[in-house]
Structure formats: structure tokens, C-alpha cells
């Protein structure tokens, strides 16, 4: 009775919030947990088949949405937190949304992305059959302290699911080291051979997690991702799902060794890993490779993942990046585009962004500054001046950096720029307000 009542009340809350124009992706979940703390456990029990937990610093939302797409394309009923609300309340909310007014849940599969620090709390209620771990980058340091702590959190979460298959990125030594002690069944995805020469300054896992000696790299794909070994015996795990013949512009395309071609309706080489992660998870659950091919081709990027607008005939790209690794990937996506462009970079320091913006100095903006196709720079967000200063030290004349505390003013100025395109790089809390502005301008 308590269960039905809770679901009913929370669905009312969600409806009310939606009427108020809110997204209702966490609040109903938070209310549910208050009314009935065990509700997530009860609801998760009703899922008939696989429960997939998606973890890792970057790319969770893309990976999880692709996964949900595959299952839905095969006619399955899926519970998924598609918008990326990935704390306990967000995951609970995904189930509430799926439930009928009487609390009935008809779900074959659950695809759930989880915040690394929250995963162990979520897995106290849900037992996944598959855990997908994409990568571990430095993220929001003031919240997590440091990457070692994130690895501990993940280990605590994995320990709660000894029967789950671990589906992991072989190219990331931090991920490989995290899962090594576990007896769980494991499957690895990765890119066996080097496909371009991109040298980034941040290499988080330079040292062996086990013995502390420097890892030997045959090559890097980006950040610490690459082919590594250590004299103590730690080495890149054997890859089951491998990408080769890789292309990144005008869209991501590659061959999965032994399976066939994949074409993604999206850009950014980091998406190779997102596709591999979701595909590996899906194939391990019995999804057909053809379904993966079909869905990646039809994929619609989520908000801010190279989201495209057309304003006054000019293509405008909105790119979300939350940490140095993500930002470096965004920068390389800008560099892949052979057209001239104006750029706005907006940095906020809200609680969800991480209040510390020191990481801006770990982003390779120097590469951007060297590109002659970038015609102008503007900065915005609550830390617009810090961002401007960062560009000054990357080599831009301080007088040529447009400083705008107001995003609307930055957009108006940038849209009249000479570039064939406009790129807007934003961090998390700057994303939604910028998207709203762009949608209005597009009308």
C-alpha cells in the first residue's frame, strides 16, 4: 500500500512540476525516497531482464542513451535516466516515470547511468547484471578530492555486484586497475592501434597504480588512454570489442573487428569509446549488431553534445565539457572542422560545475590559439574573466578577447562575426540557459 501511495504521490509531483515547466528529473525521486526509502529496490525487482549500470567520468549520458536506443529498437520496454540525472534521486525518478499510476512497472531492461560517488549508494538497492565503465578523468576536484578516491568509490560499488559482467575500457589504465582485483566476468573494449597523432598534456594515469613506476606507452589515443604496460606485469587487458579504420570528420565512423561497420550521427573521437561501450554492453545482452548499426546512424546527440543550431544561415555548435579531458576533446573537435569559426567559451563555477576552475590551466587551449581558422574569442559565464586570462596566457592579445558576463550579449556579438560557423564551449550549468537562448534565436 505504501508503495502504491508513494508512486502515486510522486507521479502527481512530477505532473505538477511539468505543468510548471520544470524538467522533473530528480525531485519526484527525492520525494519517493523520503516517503519510502526502499522504493528503488522494490521497483528494480520488477525489471524482467538485464539491468545495466553505466559509470565513468565522461560520456555516460551518450553511452546510456545509445544503450536504451538499442533495446527499444528491438521492442523492449526500457527504464532509463536519459537526461543524465544520475544520483540516487535521478535513478529513482527514472523508475517512477516508467511506473503507471497504480505503480505497475512493465520493464524488460533498465539502462542507468550513475555518478561515480553515488554508485555504491545506488547499488545498495539495485543489483546490475552488467556494469559498464568508460573512463576515469579528473573531474570536479573539489567534490571528489582526487581520482584515487573515485577509484575507491567504484570498487565499493563493484563489490556489491559480484555477479555482474564488467564491461570496461581496456585503453584506460585507471579503469583497468580499478577492475583488476575483481573475480567478476570481464569484457574489454578499446582501440588496439594508434589512429592519429594527438598529444595532450594531461595524462592522468602515467604511473602504475600497483607499483608506482611510470607506465610504458606504445602510443596515446588521448589523455591517458592508449596502449600501456608496466614492468610489474600490469598491462592493457585483451580487447574483445575493437575499433579500427577510424574516421572522425564529418562524422565518426569505424569498423568493429569481426563484426562490421559503424557510422555515428555525431562527431568527436571520444564518441568512438561511447559507441564501443554501449555496443559491448548491448551485445553481451544479446542485442544484434545490426541493431547497433541502425541506431548509431539514427542517433540524435543529447543537449550540448555537439548540438547543432542554424541561426541566420550560420551553423552554431553547442559543446558541453566539464573537465580538462572533456575540454581537450571539445577543442580537438573544433580543430577537426575545416571551416572558419568564431568561438565563445562560457565557464560557470556553480556547485554542479565544481567551484574550483583551476583545471582551465590543464586544458590545451594553446592548440586552439594556433589554429588560424578561429577568427575571434569571447568568454562568458560567472568566471568569464578567469577564462579570458587563460586565453591571454595561451597567446591571445588581451585586447582581442571579448569579455561578456552576459551570454546573450556574447551571442549577439559572435553571431555577427566573420566565421562560417560559431562554436560555443560551455560547462555544465551554462548549458541549459545557453541552449534556451539558441533555441529562441533559431526561431
Amino acid at each position: 500500500m505504501r508503495y502504491f501511495l508513494t508512486v502515486f504521490i510522486c507521479k502527481c509531483v512530477a505532473l505538477l512540476l511539468k505543468c510548471m515547466g520544470k524538467k522533473a528529473t530528480t525531485t519526484p525521486g527525492a520525494v519517493a525516497l523520503r516517503l519510502y526509502p526502499d522504493i528503488l529496490h522494490v521497483m528494480a525487482e520488477k525489471v524482467k531482464g538485464d539491468i545495466l549500470a553505466v559509470m565513468g567520468t565522461n560520456g555516460k549520458t551518450t553511452t546510456n542513451n545509445l544503450l536504451a536506443d538499442y533495446f527499444e529498437a528491438e521492442g523492449k520496454s526500457v527504464v532509463a535516466n536519459r537526461i543524465g540525472a544520475n544520483l540516487l534521486s535521478g535513478v529513482t525518478c527514472a523508475f517512477i516515470q516508467k511506473a503507471g499510476w497504480t505503480g505497475k512497472i512493465e520493464a524488460d531492461v533498465a539502462c542507468l547511468e550513475m555518478d561515480e560517488a553515488w554508485a555504491k549508494h545506488i547499488l545498495a538497492f539495485i543489483t546490475p547484471t552488467k556494469i559498464i565503465i568508460g573512463n576515469l578523468f579528473r573531474d570536479q576536484l573539489d567534490r571528489y578530492g582526487e581520482i584515487d578516491m573515485t577509484m575507491q568509490y567504484l570498487k565499493q560499488a563493484i563489490a556489491l555486484a559480484p555477479k555482474a559482467t564488467l564491461i570496461c575500457n581496456s585503453d584506460d589504465p585507471l579503469v583497468a586497475a580499478t577492475v583488476q582485483p575483481f573475480e567478476n566476468k570481464k569484457r574489454f573494449f578499446g582501440i588496439k592501434e594508434s589512429f592519429h597523432a594527438y598529444e595532450s598534456n594531461i595524462k592522468e594515469g602515467k604511473f602504475c597504480y600497483f607499483c608506482g613506476r611510470p607506465l610504458n606507452y606504445r602510443f596515446y589515443h588521448f589523455s591517458q588512454l592508449g596502449d600501456y604496460t608496466c614492468s610489474c606485469g600490469f598491462t592493457r587487458p585483451e580487447i574483445t570489442y575493437n575499433a579500427e579504420n577510424i574516421q572522425v570528420f564529418p562524422r565518426v565512423a569505424f569498423t568493429v573487428t569481426g563484426f562490421g561497420e559503424i557510422e555515428l550521427n555525431g562527431r568527436g573521437m571520444y564518441n568512438i569509446y561511447n559507441v564501443l561501450a554501449s555496443m559491448a554492453g548491448a551485445l553481451e545482452c544479446g542485442i544484434a549488431f545490426q541493431t547497433v548499426q541502425k541506431c548509431t546512424k539514427a542517433y540524435t546527440p543529447q543537449i550540448g553534445r555537439m548540438e547543432t543550431f542554424c541561426i541566420g544561415g550560420k551553423p552554431v555548435y553547442l559543446v558541453l565539457a566539464k573537465n580538462p579531458a572533456g575540454f581537450n576533446q571539445s577543442v580537438s573537435s573544433v580543430l577537426e572542422d575545416p571551416r572558419t569559426k568564431d568561438i565563445i567559451i562560457a565557464i560557470n563555477d556553480g556547485a554542479q560545475d565544481g567551484r574550483d576552475v583551476s583545471w582551465l590551466w590543464d586544458v590545451d587551449f594553446d592548440a586552439l590559439v594556433k589554429d588560424r581558422l578561429v577568427l575571434s574569442y569571447k568568454t562568458s559565464g560567472s568566471r568569464y574573466a578567469d577564462m579570458g586570462l587563460r586565453l591571454k596566457y595561451a597567446g591571445i592579445d588581451a585586447h582581442k578577447i571579448g569579455l561578456y558576463s552576459d551570454m546573450k550579449a556574447a551571442l549577439d556579438a559572435a553571431l555577427s562575426g566573420k566565421g562560417e560557423t560559431l562554436y560555443i564551449l560551455v560547462n555544465y550549468t551554462a548549458l541549459f540557459s545557453t541552449q534556451t537562448l539558441l533555441k529562441e534565436l533559431e526561431k
Binding site: G145, F207, W361
Partner: protein, 246 residues
């Protein structure tokens, strides 16, 4: 032409909070003034050449990496102490600050520091995290320093002199109202990452002290002011946010 040799200690290990920004600031502010600058990155198993160092920089790292650096530097502990004692310039940030002391606690462990500063760092309950503003009076100049701190340790600076007074934030131990240490030419602080880009006054004091140490009082002849409008704006934005709220 004047030349400054800046030695960056173990950027491969101590690089947690954008310390690249501090080095870039020291480098560019020399270059903009026509001072030649060499950056020596000491990495892996190699050791710094203190005889040819005019400014030694020590950044912040994770606990594990900080401990690795500390054990490496124990081999040249005496040389580092002599360097500091004879007026060599050191800028130490965050973890680098802690390991200049007598000891620091990490989890259940107590790790021997280098003893350059007579300070002790104890483990605190919570981490002290947030934006911070200091008031500093150095070399006849009074100015504000803006930064970000994130430390679990509480540092007792005993009889050492603080780098600045905390106007907003936690500082050394969250209660004394003081932050960092300034002893001779050793500048040590919890303010991490891009401390120097946003605080050009402090960056210039470090450079001037290094020039005087190397070339004598004439070393700073012609050391002119630079345009720091963007720096000032970045600092003002944070000062207004932190100081006008109260």
C-alpha cells in the same frame, strides 16, 4: 640580458590543480619584460640542480604522488635547506607547502617533511575547500591575493610568519585567520593552481626577489609594470563576490 632559471619540481607527479598556469605566468612575465627565462622540468628519477636554480617551484599532487615526491627529495634535504637558508627563492603550493614542513599527516601515516619551514601539518576532520581572499603586505606593498584552497591538513605555523591574513576563506588551519608562510624568500601557500596568473603582484615579487638574489639590488632596474587589466578584473570579480556579501 638577464636570465632566470626556473626549476619546476616533478610536474609529472605534482600537477593536480593546474600548476602549469603558475609556471606559464612566471615565464611570460619575464618574456614580456625582455628577461630570458629557462624552465627546467625535473621529472622521473632525476634531481634538481639547485646551484643553477633562481626560482624553485613545487606544486600540489594527490596524497600518493605527494608522498613519492617527498621521499625523492629526502635525498637532497640538506641542499634544499641550504638553498632556502641562503635566500634562494621557493614557491610552494598546496602539497608542496606541506612537505616543506617538519612533518605532515596523511591518513594514519605521519610523513617526514623537508624541514625548510618550522611548521607541522595535522590531519583535519573535513577538507577545507573554497575560494579565498588574503591581504598581504610584502616588500612595502599591500595587496589582495585571490585563490582557491582544498586541503585536509591543518598547518600550525608556530613562530613562522604568515604569507597573508585571511579576509574570506579558511587559511592554514581554518581558525587562526592566517594563511601560508613567508620566510626569507620561501613563499608557501595552500592557494593552489592558477595562483600566480590572477595575482600578478605576487608573481612579480617572486621574480624581483629572484633577480635581486642573483644580480644584487640592480637586478630589478628596468623591471617595469605590465598591463594587468584582465588580471585585475578576474581578481575583482571574486573579491566582490566574497567580500561584499558580508
Amino acid at each position: 640580458m638577464k636570465i632566470l632559471n626556473i626549476t619546476h619540481l616533478y610536474p609529472d607527479l605534482l600537477n593536480l590543480y593546474g600548476d602549469r598556469g603558475n609556471i606559464a605566468t612566471l615565464e611570460k612575465r619575464c618574456v614580456w619584460r625582455g628577461i630570458e627565462v629557462n624552465i627546467h622540468e625535473v621529472t622521473g628519477e632525476s634531481m634538481p640542480d639547485l646551484k643553477h636554480t633562481d626560482l624553485l617551484f613545487l606544486g600540489g599532487g594527490s596524497d600518493r604522488e605527494q608522498k613519492l615526491v617527498c621521499s625523492k627529495l629526502q635525498h637532497i634535504r640538506n641542499e634544499i635547506c641550504d638553498y632556502a637558508e641562503s635566500g634562494g627563492v621557493i614557491a610552494a603550493v598546496c602539497g608542496g607547502y606541506q612537505l616543506l614542513g617538519n612533518f605532515y599527516q596523511m591518513g594514519e601515516e605521519t610523513i617526514q617533511g623537508l624541514g625548510v619551514l618550522d611548521i607541522d601539518t595535522y590531519r583535519g576532520e573535513d577538507r577545507l575547500i573554497g575560494n579565498i581572499v588574503l591581504q598581504c603586505s610584502i616588500d612595502g606593498q599591500t595587496f589582495r591575493v585571490v585563490g582557491f584552497e582544498n586541503h585536509g591538513g591543518r598547518t600550525d605555523i608556530k613562530k613562522e610568519t604568515a604569507l597573508g591574513k585571511v579576509l574570506s576563506g579558511y587559511g592554514n588551519d581554518g581558525k587562526s585567520g592566517f594563511e601560508g608562510v613567508l620566510k626569507k624568500n620561501v613563499f608557501a601557500t595552500y592557494l593552489h593552481g592558477p595562483l600566480l596568473p590572477k595575482n600578478p603582484m605576487l608573481a612579480d615579487i617572486l621574480l624581483k626577489r629572484a633577480l635581486i638574489q642573483k644580480y644584487g639590488p640592480d637586478g630589478i632596474v628596468g623591471f617595469g609594470a605590465l598591463e594587468d587589466l584582465l588580471e585585475e578584473e578576474a581578481s575583482q570579480v571574486m573579491q566582490q563576490r566574497l567580500l561584499t556579501r558580508k
